[in-house]
Symmetry: C2
Subunit: 208 residues, 2 copies
DNA sequence: TCCGCCTCTAAGCGCTTGCTCACCCTCGTT
DNA sequence: AACGAGGGTGAGCAAGCGCTTAGAGGCGGA
């Protein structure tokens, strides 16, 4: 991870890798706008306006509106995959690692739900080759989760009749958090993460 | 249920309640287009073209493009709520009724996933008062599922620490089927329904 | 001081959008 | 045969879209 992604305090700064600063401001503005209204309903004038710039400024940093979406989607999917892999590479039991994966994955989808919403639901707005690139990243996320479940089954920790189907369900459950999560709601990202980790352990039949 | 929704054979005909026939053709075309490309990316010319009509014909039957979306969303949510309530009103144990609800709800989201995708993911494109009407229907779906889980807990069938959170998770899991389900995929709607019913019973800690 | 480079703006081009309007065609009824 | 009603069309309007271009302004190095 590059130093630009972290503040001196150690907390990680989202979009820290996007430079120069004007390009980052435009990208952050685009994330907000896409999350609120969807890609197609968002105008380049709206994005530029939120970033405090003229419409033409956008095209200095990005070739097209679709390139903006692709950059957002790429960075977001990289981050999501990194989260899952970090949990999978931990040294606990399969149950501990699965719970950890779900907890941190869900927390990310709740905390950064505007980003996640764009990343997860605006995939169809990408052009064919950009979409193919992103789909490949998702395949790897799927493989990472399936790996943990496979290991749990092999170790006798889990009891799962349909590993592929259960993997899809687990990821689907986590991803959909970004759709319904509301900052003003009753639950914090941590609480949702804990709840979902528990639910997923039940789904795989992990003895408590 | 009105007779217009059923063919003489007894199988139910989707959109049977929409008349006259030209209005139904337009609505079916709109569902396809909205599901494929999203509401905002779909043009009125595209909808009319799919229905084999001129762009102006749309405005004989619908005041605006948004009214089309509202009609689709309203009918779809009515159907979804009807499915859940039918299962909830059954006479088995709470576990049987919950499994039945999930099975039929998921089957609908898989079988009619183009409709479901529009109904579940294009909500934000509705105007404020139309959206409020639909949100109220969703609240009732939530209450129906929560009711079954409450009864299961009261009867000692389930062991659920967080009923509200688990209800959200169950509905979220089912709804998201419409996003990833693929007709060319390996699983039939029935198979996904059965898998998900099993997973949900595990989530609520129903003894098998 | 002057230059070249980069960022950003004002203006606007070509096109598409949701929607309208004047008119036509096809009916069942008289 | 004449009529009224209602579903349908071709053409097109005003507005808004993604994107381009000519040029202004600021800044570091010679």
């Amino acid at each position: 991870m590059s130093a630009a992604e972290e503040t001196p305090g150690g907390e990680d700064m989202p979009w820290g890798e996007v430079t120069p600063e004007a390009a980052r401001r435009l990208l952050v503005a685009a994330v907000e706008a896409f999350a609120e209204r969807g890609y197609h309903a968002t105008t380049t004038r709206d994005i530029a306006g939120r970033a405090g710039m003229s419409p033409a400024a956008l095209y200095i940093h990005y070739k097209t509106k679709e390139e903006l979406l692709h950059r957002i989607s790429r960075i977001g999917h990289d981050k999501a995959l990194e989260i899952l892999r970090a949990a999978a590479a931990g040294d606990g039991t399969a149950a501990e690692r699965l719970a950890d994966a779900v907890r941190s994955f869900v927390r990310w989808h709740a905390e950064r739900h505007t980003t996640a919403r764009v990343v997860q639901y605006e995939l169809d707005a990408l052009g064919p080759e950009h979409r193919a690139e992103i789909v490949e990243l998702r395949r790897r996320s799927d493989a990472t989760v399936r790996g943990i479940i496979d290991e749990g089954v092999a170790a006798g920790e889990f009891e799962v009749p349909d590993v592929a189907g259960t993997t899809v369900a687990v990821l689907s459950l986590c991803i959909d958090v970004s759709r319904w999560f509301n900052v003003q709601g009753r639950r914090s990202p941590d609480e949702v993460g804990a709840l979902y980790a528990d639910l997923v352990l039940r789904m795989v039949g992990a003895q408590k």
